[in-house]
């Protein structure tokens, strides 16, 4: 958690937010002029804060005392015995609010307070980032408005209630497909009109510069901690690391510390939904094309006219038709490998972890675990470090209908 001496990597963006330079063209800032001054102000304030030991000490203290970090690195022994590789779980599910996302929002909210702004806005899909934002707003005493697609407010009524209890205003968005991408559009529209006193707590490592880099830096404690814990507990680095990738904040948060470790294989697992061939998936890097969405050039699920296509994943937190531009770059240069994991594979991994370790992961995180299980046969005896980015309580409705749970007299059956 403490600030490492080497903060930069050779995979960082340039001063204008381009990953791999403007020639390669991932990232950048494709935004209305009205927001450029705010993005410039944010960039300057963030860089100033990151150079200020007092800010970093504040951030560390809040993460430790309020949010329960560092999260443990846990050896999943029964699971490891079953699959033949040593599986280590970075337990971000144990953080306050139940996922890695609290790191990002506490960092951005602390910066908001430093900038003297009094209101925050956020977008949310399943509601996890919305709940985290409402939590951070309550912690710092900021006004909070969360935009959420009306399809999602119905699917995730419990999270709407949590945000309400935390004092946030939730606005249901009916435009477009009424899901996460439209919630982002609506938050941007709010921000254009409110930018003088409002900060946009962007929920993932995507969007216009500086968000992909700033969100990464607030989340990189995942990997910084895991790398140090792995060395301390096992005397060696892992052979491979895995994370799920929707927008990609937990993944880039894990990957960053390991980018310079050439012997560590890096894997991102994208939501393969019902399978690539069905068209119902959100495997953006695997199946998307270069394009511009929400302020950055990256891979985008789009039709032949550049209209954004609707994505699908059983995991609402991965259900996004774009991906953070640094992931697009890491895929392009081959430093990280991105593969799709289907809904069915993720749900199997969820059940397996529940049965072997007594841990119910978020379905998002189950994608990272399913990916590790896929790697295990070729990595027998090796160490695979999995980012368990969140807990699965929020996913019980989905699990009930997927597995047919909830009948007191039913046989629970075996899990493969």
């Amino acid at each position: 958690m403490t600030t490492p001496p080497e903060r930069t990597t050779s995979y960082d963006a340039d001063a204008l937010g381009w990953f791999g330079g403007p020639e390669r063209g991932f990232g950048g800032r494709f935004m209305p002029e009205a927001l450029v001054a705010a993005l410039d102000e944010l960039t300057a304030a963030w860089q100033d804060a990151m150079a200020d030991p007092a800010f970093l000490a504040d951030f560390d203290a809040i993460l430790r005392d309020y949010a329960g970090m560092p999260s443990p690195l846990y050896f999943a022994e029964r699971l490891s015995d079953k699959v033949g590789a040593r599986i280590l779980l970075k337990r971000e599910d144990l953080n306050h609010t139940g996922a890695h996302k609290i790191r990002n929002v506490l960092g951005q909210a602390l910066l908001t307070r430093r900038m003297g702004k009094t209101r925050v806005i956020a977008e949310t899909g399943a509601g996890q980032h919305g709940v985290a934002s409402a939590t951070a707003a309550a912690y710092f005493g900021l006004d909070c408005t969360v935009y959420m697609g009306s399809v999602d407010t119905k699917r995730q009524a419990l999270n709407v209630a949590r945000m309400n209890l935390l004092g946030a205003k939730v606005v249901a968005v009916d435009s477009g497909s009424a899901t996460l991408k439209d919630a982002i559009n609506e938050a941007l529209r709010d921000w254009v009109a409110s930018v003088d006193h409002t900060a946009y707590l962007f929920g993932t490592a995507a969007g216009p510069h500086p968000f992909p880099s700033m969100v990464r830096e607030f989340c990189r404690g995942i990997g910084d901690e895991a790398r140090a814990q792995c060395l301390e507990q096992y005397g060696a680095l892992p052979d491979a690391i895995t994370a799920c990738v929707g927008g990609g904040s937990n993944a880039i948060g894990l990957f960053t510390a390991f980018l310079g470790d050439e012997d560590v294989a890096i894997y991102g697992f994208e939501p393969g939904g019902e399978g690539f061939e069905t068209g119902r998936h959100a495997a953006t890097i695997h199946a998307g094309d270069r394009g511009v969405l929400h302020g950055a050039r990256t891979y985008v699920l789009q039709d032949e006219d550049g209209q954004t296509q609707e994505s699908h994943s059983i995991s609402a937190g991965l259900d996004y038709p774009g991906v953070g531009p640094q992931h697009a770059y890491l895929a392009d240069v081959g430093r990280a490998t991105y593969e799709p994991v289907t809904d069915a594979e993720a749900m199997d991994a969820m059940a397996l972890l529940a049965r072997t370790e007594g841990i119910i992961p978020a379905i998002e995180s189950a994608h990272a675990l399913a990916g590790a299980l896929r790697l295990a046969p070729e990595r027998q005896g090796q160490t695979i470090l999995v980012n368990l980015s969140g807990r699965g309580d929020k996913d019980m409705e989905t699990a009930i209908s997927w597995f047919g749970l909830g009948d007191a007299d039913a046989e629970t059956g075996e899990v493969q």
């Binding site: 009205a34 450029v36 001054a37 529209r189 394009g291 006219d305 550049g306 209209q307």
Partner: protein
């Protein structure tokens, strides 16, 4: 006629130019072209044709609904070129207003070439700034197309200077901090922004966002007031059509009446 000639003519007549916007393919393909031609007929000096896009972050509910309707009707990028051709044939300059991804997907150079072939005057680009990507600059210059970028009340003087240096045709000044949509009163941010922009350039400066009637147009164009060289109206035209669903003739009458009111407004200044 080019956009700059049109603005020069209006200036010689001692008035502001009227720039009218509708998204392409709204309310449907044929009706959309008829609507734009009605606006030309009734007094729009420049036509701005929106390219419907799935994620229009600078648009309020009115334009969003219209663009979504066009997409639901099966709008394709190539359709905008046919509409440009139809408008340009009247002699009134036609610009395309588009979010960036559809152009990038079509191919920036190919889009510029096809737009020029269709007689289009250039592009208005609400979600890119001149420093975002050099590809459009190169293509626009190669095909002598106008490049209309936006300046905003939040723009620093340095950014205004940079932006106008890259503009050709006119400069689009957004009168409010916000998205498209009719507003009851003229923004008090418009005047200072026009003044700052005019200090940086001799290009015409047109004001858009929120203008919906002749009185507001007159206020924006007033030489002893805001002093804009052009008045841009979008959502109010869209609203005129949305208010007459399924009755194109009534919609066209409403468009004509609104255009005449606005055209009188820019002449009243």
């Amino acid at each position: 006629m080019s956009v700059s000639t049109t603005f020069a003519t209006a200036r010689a007549e001692g008035r502001a130019a009227l720039v009218g916007y509708l998204p392409c393919g709204f309310p449907d393909a044929a009706g959309g072209d008829a609507a734009l031609l009605a606006m030309v007929e009734a007094g729009c000096d420049v036509i701005e044709i929106g390219l419907p896009y799935s994620d229009p972050v600078m648009d309020g509910p009115t334009v969003q609904a219209a663009a979504q309707q066009a997409l639901d009707n099966g709008f394709r990028t190539r359709d905008v070129l046919r509409t440009v051709e139809a408008v340009a044939a009247t002699g009134t300059p036609a610009l395309v207003m588009t979010y960036w991804n559809p152009v990038e997907r079509y191919g920036v150079e190919r889009f510029a070439a096809d737009l020029a072939n269709a007689g289009g005057a250039g592009l208005i680009t609400p979600d890119i700034t001149p420093d975002a990507d050099p590809a459009w600059e190169q293509a626009a210059d190669a095909h002598a197309l106008d490049k209309v970028y936006l300046v905003a009340p939040s723009s620093t003087d340095e950014r205004i200077a940079m932006t106008v240096a890259h503009c050709r045709g006119f400069v689009y000044a957004t009168a409010v901090m916000g998205v498209t949509g009719a507003r009851a009163t003229t923004s008090d941010l418009a005047g200072p922004l026009v003044a700052r922009t005019k200090r940086a350039t001799d290009l015409p400066v047109a004001v858009g966002l929120g203008i919906s009637n002749g009185d507001q147009a007159a206020e924006v164009a007033a030489k002893d007031g805001i002093g804009a060289d052009g008045v841009i109206v979008g959502s109010a035209f869209v609203r005129a059509l949305l208010d007459h669903p399924g009755d194109l003739r009534a919609g066209l009458r409403a468009l004509t009446a609104l255009t005449e009111d606005l055209a009188a407004g820019v002449r009243r200044a």
